[in-house]
């Protein structure tokens, strides 16, 4: 009897088990990382940033006509850390939950009469943007009564406050 080229039963079983084990390991080790996973942490930042801008643009009571954000832009008083301390205070505020180290860079832009592109003015930032950050962008339209560069007099203008947020 010629036994060459034969696969014996016990070897077949062993080979089968090895195949199964391999399949099991591969399937177990695979994590499908969907865009949705990254979206969740982006969304958390985005919600937080847009909430912060909203409450900064809400006056505390009816006797205060202008919101803190509007006052800062009208008086150009955001540069001295006022915007930074307020925004950082809100975004890093926490009760029971974890503390997040959130950084930001903010500016506002407006339409210059007669110019094709809007102009932009830096507000403040907690850290310089290096380009490597995974940042999200939140915006808020704010009505200000101000003579913006290029305007001839003080008038009600809509400016777009734009904040880039990222985690350290």
């Amino acid at each position: 009897m010629n036994d060459r080229g034969q696969l014996y039963t016990i070897e077949g079983v062993a080979a089968g088990l090895i195949m199964l084990l391999t399949a099991y390991m591969i399937v177990g080790a695979t994590t499908i990382y969907t865009p949705g996973d990254a979206h969740i942490s982006d969304m958390q930042l985005e919600v937080l940033g847009s909430d912060a801008l909203t409450i900064m643009d809400t006056p505390a009571n009816s006797t205060v006509a202008e919101s803190p954000l509007r006052q800062m832009i009208e008086n150009d008083s955001y540069g001295g850390g006022q915007f930074k301390s307020m925004f950082m205070n809100y975004t890093n505020a926490s009760g029971y939950g974890p503390v997040h180290n959130i950084q930001f860079s903010a500016n506002y832009s407006y339409v210059v009469p007669g110019q094709p592109t809007p102009a932009s003015i830096a507000i403040n930032s907690s850290r310089n943007l290096t380009g490597g950050e995974h940042a999200v962008r939140v915006t808020k339209w704010v009505i200000v009564s101000k003579q913006l560069p290029g305007d001839t007099n003080v008038e009600n203008r809509a400016v777009l406050v734009e904040v880039l947020l990222w985690r350290d």
Binding site: G12, A23, Y24, I40, D51, A52, I55, G95
Partner: protein
């Protein structure tokens, strides 16, 4: 037997069996790959996000009357918690809804699971609201685990209800203490009325963030230092302290030019007591009149002007009290106390900064 053509070998059978087993096993594990897609972490974050949105942007259900007004006996009629003042004001939370939400009459986790977390899986969670302005922190749920959990943080404003506190200088400035003419000393019954003008309250301020609406939020009116407004009359010549008795509070609604009695009012807190007392009741110095939206809205339906009329009588301190004539808080000759948007009369609604945090695991 030498002809073996067409036979199935044992090797083939065993090999095919192993292959089938492997195939079934792998097929069964494919669904396991999909489990990674809805891994606990992502799912928990999504549930936390959804809960955060419901809490911060939704006023809850039922909306009219609002769920926070339902007593404990009817808590099963509340189908969804939401802390927003109205559906048009996302991010503006009602102080009363927050207090009711954290009320101990709701049991963790069952009452919260079905009304704000939702879903078939029984999650564990922790919900907290921190008022950054006052530092007050309220929470419900389990202690946060050390390992991973789904989390969302929302920033919002809490609308602090309006209230009015008036004292002697206010009484005198508005002639609520009618000591002016001698005849006023001959009065043993005194009336003090409070006007709530619904048309003006809803018309003068249309922004729901700053509006005073007694139909949806409570009003507190504190009358302080009443004893100092009491002046002895000419007869009988007893020395104070006389007794101040609040005999009743009647509520009148105005329809056209006619006033009609709508109800009597029984929710008030006397002399700093934390439990409500009903008149008639002796008053030493302070009265806090609590006007809750549930009873107010039933009573004021269709009427704009509502008057709360507090009746006092004065007696001496003897065992069988004798009516006592004197001057006291009384605005029948002047004008009712107007609960309005004047900051000198009423402490206006205030918006506090707040953080709402939801953790789910």
């Amino acid at each position: 037997m030498s002809d073996e053509t067409g036979n199935l070998s044992l090797d083939f059978l065993v090999g095919f069996t192993v292959f089938l087993l492997a195939f079934i096993w792998v097929a069964a594990m494919v669904s396991g790959i999909m489990v990674n897609l809805q891994s606990s972490h992502i799912d928990y974050d999504a549930v936390a996000y959804r809960t955060g949105v419901i809490l911060v942007e939704d006023p809850g259900w039922p909306a009219s009357p609002s769920w926070e007004l339902y007593p404990d006996s009817q808590k099963y009629e509340i189908s969804r918690f939401g802390l927003a003042v109205s559906k048009d004001t996302p991010g503006l939370l009602s102080q009363d809804k927050i207090n009711r939400f954290f009320c101990t009459s709701f049991v963790y986790p069952d009452d919260y699971q079905s009304r704000v977390i939702f879903g078939d899986y029984s999650y564990r969670f922790n919900i907290s609201v921190t008022d950054l302005t006052s530092g007050r922190q309220q929470s419900v749920g389990d202690v946060l685990p050390n390992d991973e959990y789904g989390y969302i943080r929302r920033l919002a404003k809490i609308k602090i209800d309006s209230n009015a506190t008036i004292g002697p200088s206010y009484y005198i400035a508005h002639s609520y203490n009618n000591t002016g003419t001698p005849s006023d000393f001959n009065v043993t019954q005194h009336q003090f009325s409070i006007l709530i003008n619904g048309t003006k309250l809803l018309g003068d301020q249309t922004n729901p963030a700053y509006q005073i609406d007694p139909n949806i939020e409570p009003i507190m009116i504190n009358l302080t230092n009443l004893n100092s407004t009491l002046f002895p009359g000419v007869y009988p010549p007893v020395t104070p302290p006389a007794r101040i008795n609040l005999t009743g509070i009647k509520v009148y609604v105005q329809h056209g030019n006619t006033l009609s009695l709508a109800n009597t009012w029984n929710t008030l807190y006397i002399d700093g007591s934390s439990t409500a007392s009903a008149p008639p009741h002796r008053v030493l110095d302070n009265i806090s009149l609590m006007i809750d939206p549930y009873n107010f809205s039933i009573m004021s339906a269709g009427y704009s002007n509502v008057y709360f009329n507090l009746s006092f009588n004065l007696t001496d301190s003897s065992i069988t009290p004798i009516a006592y004539k004197g001057s006291f808080l009384n605005n029948t000759l002047s004008s009712p106390f107007d609960y309005n948007y004047n900051g000198a009369n009423v402490t206006q609604p205030q918006l506090d900064d707040a953080v709402v945090e939801v953790a789910v695991w």
